[in-house]
Subunit: 309 residues, 2 copies
Amino acid sequence: MGIRYPVVQGGMVWCSGWRLASAVSNAGGLGLLGAGSMEPELLREHVRKCKMATANPFGVNVSLMSRQVEGLMKVIEEEEVKIVFTSAGTPRAWTGFLKERGVVVVHVVSSSRFAVKCEEAGVDAIVAEGFEAGGHNGREETTTLCLIPAVRCVTSLPLLAAGGIGTGEALLAAQALGADGVQIGTRFALTRESSAHEYFKQLCIGLEEGETKLLLKKLSPTRLVKGAFMTAVEEAEARGASVEELRQLLGYGRARKGIFEGDLVEGELEIGQVASLVRRMQDVEEVMQELMTGYERALMNRERWDASV
Amino acid sequence: MGIRYPVVQGGMVWCSGWRLASAVSNAGGLGLLGAGSMEPELLREHVRKCKMATANPFGVNVSLMSRQVEGLMKVIEEEEVKIVFTSAGTPRAWTGFLKERGVVVVHVVSSSRFAVKCEEAGVDAIVAEGFEAGGHNGREETTTLCLIPAVRCVTSLPLLAAGGIGTGEALLAAQALGADGVQIGTRFALTRESSAHEYFKQLCIGLEEGETKLLLKKLSPTRLVKGAFMTAVEEAEARGASVEELRQLLGYGRARKGIFEGDLVEGELEIGQVASLVRRMQDVEEVMQELMTGYERALMNRERWDASV
């Protein structure tokens, strides 16, 4: 993909607009615009601004469950976006359309079964995302540690590990497991350049272990952050709430309210488990430098490992 | 601990008797007798047989929730067991007693908060076990990938990673994250030397991703294997079954029935997520060789990593 570091910034609703994506691309990673929370014309604006803000490659993440997917793909074609990450849905749906237009296509999966489908559909690379990831998540609940080797077994395509990756040490661990690089969401969602609300970022930076939970499994499994809404969901699920009740409780537009508007009471808050390792607000350049320093430090320790075996 | 490889075989109910533990110790790892499913006199028998079967160090795992804990500790004292892994409960309870008798004490945790308590209690080392592990599990649901760096931050004690580790590549990944070694349960539970029933082993060797689930969260979170009992638990939980209903459904002695007696219908079946990476029955010696080969192979790839960054 012509990037310096094997680090992709995951496309995230309400977090990854042109500011975050261009900052990551400028810092040597691959930034992604998260189109999941955008109308087509807003995506067009972000693509244009991102092009102005960086000369480096960047991409767009499209959730194939979006009601806007046709409109978003039209904008991607018209604005000549070069790299598209698709998530949810089947890789068969849009890979052909994108490949015909010369786009590099990467699909996000949560199982090796879907990785096989990706290869059949002709994608260029795969992101395998584990249980610890924030937001929407696979039904298998396979963690990144178990998922990466499983996906590596079934495909020789370039493979990015996602879920629970927030440090250079974890990048090295992912490579040990067979990944070529990583996709990082949470750590970048909590940078200055992320468009998430300040209140949301501060809450997430203060999270302890165990303060995110994968809930809403009867609808679509989603990793939520502790707070009023999560408590309401937990209570409803403990008493066996039906799909319909949960759908009503969730309502519409809650993620925007929580993540973008900073309403920590009414909003739906989504972040990955690895938030509990993030302890201060940083800018993207600083995060990228720390990732590489941590990676080098972990590599240096390899002599110690040799000796211990 | 005077072992050749930084690999501990986890003490597991109904799997790890003297045959498995001595085989692991003979192969250069540290074998553990799983006292969680033993009466004190049975533990005594296993300790004695294990001493006969290996000249290398081995240990005993004691669940501090066991109703037999006093009796088991008495046997440990009388039989002069040198290494004890304690799990569940607080490390404060028995660490003093064991240390006074010259025993090396290792406690199993699922959070960095408990790792701090371990250090305060004076344990010699810590096992940090993530969400992907089989059987009883932490309430935080923190995965091994997120847990190891968190525990490494709060303690300088020797640290073993557990949960989701079944290959040499995963051992290297665990070390990259800051662990000194690993504790492996599932992979050893499915060897010839494990005392689990053949039917149970064959079922687990055929598992696909997503076919274990962490359930019984209202009682004590437990990773179960797909089958009649897991379906019954899932149905009960989906309709909001109370603690009391779940306790009745679980009953007593189900794990023995499932794992040891091979009753795949009535039994409670417990195994880790990483079972989906185990594809054939092996003996311990073969597993240990594969672990070390995989580890070396992953280390060799490090040149590629340098180049990619």
